[in-house]
């Protein structure tokens, strides 16, 4: 959760440093963006997130994992408030409350629902 949110923030900062990109110069984007320290750090953190995320998907449903990982947004907002002393508006507090409720909803249910039909397909017993 933390790696995804911090990684996205680093990417945003790195891309802001690089300035606007034109769609006809995507080569410049591909060649130069990964060498920006902020973009590179963001990529490393997002790779860590991806490994943890795929592992979770091997034993849980996508509709369980997605809302659960959204709790990272709350962590970042609280870090900003108590570590960076940023202002936390009422709107953001409502956003935090909604995400906490959402995580509570999915955490109270099963992590995985049964998929007999697709499990049979995955086992090679039927067409995709």
């Amino acid at each position: 959760m933390l790696t995804a949110s911090v990684g996205d923030s680093l990417l945003a900062r790195g891309m802001a440093q690089m300035g606007p990109m034109d769609i006809h110069h995507l080569g410049r984007l591909l060649l130069h963006a990964p060498f920006n320290p902020f973009v590179a750090s963001g990529i490393v953190l997002l790779i860590g997130f991806f490994a943890a995320y795929t592992t979770a998907l091997s034993w849980a449903d996508l509709t369980f994992v997605m809302p659960a990982t959204a709790f990272g947004y709350v962590v970042i907002a609280l870090l900003g408030r108590f570590w960076l002393h940023e202002h936390l508006s009422v709107t953001r507090c409502i956003g935090i409350a909604l995400i906490v409720c959402a995580v509570g909803f999915v955490a109270g249910g099963p992590s995985r629902t049964e998929h007999p039909q697709l499990d049979a397909i995955d086992a090679g017993l039927g067409p995709l």
């Binding site: 963006a33 953001r92 909803f105």
Partner: protein, 133 residues
């Protein structure tokens, strides 16, 4: 006159945001399908070790296709962030991706998205939208 210059800036931004969200949904659904096909990675690691688990993952066709979609999503997101403010692109992409994933999981992964999970998805989309504005 190029296609991008013919579009209004607002439409250009929203098309970019929509494209990023579609790539994210495709990638996540394909990766989830691939990981479900493989089964619990902890079980694979217990039998074949970490290298065996990595090989199993990176040789799964669905996973690789999904990862390619996510790679395309990554560069599309960089492009979107270069033309749109993070305060707009961030919440819009996140909200569209959460809602799109719930529909795609129900349609393609046939997950049983009950009322609890629909509520969670809508709450997260709304919460992220409010939090990042």
């Amino acid at each position: 006159m190029t296609i991008t210059s013919a579009l209004s800036p607002t439409l250009h931004i929203w098309l970019s945001i929509g494209f990023v969200a579609v790539l994210a949904v495709c990638g996540e659904v394909l990766i989830a399908a691939g990981m479900r096909q493989l089964g619990d990675l902890d079980d694979i690691r217990a039998v074949s070790g970490l290298s065996g688990a990595i090989v199993a993952v990176i040789t799964n066709f669905r996973f690789v296709t999904g990862a390619l979609c996510m790679a395309a999503n990554f560069f599309a997101m960089l492009y979107a962030l270069s033309i749109a403010n993070l305060s707009l692109a961030g919440p819009a992409i996140a909200a569209l991706t959460y809602i799109g994933n719930a529909f795609a999981a129900k349609l393609f992964l046939r997950e049983k998205v009950d009322r609890r999970r629909w509520l969670a998805t809508v709450f997260v989309a709304a919460g992220v939208f409010l939090l990042t504005r």
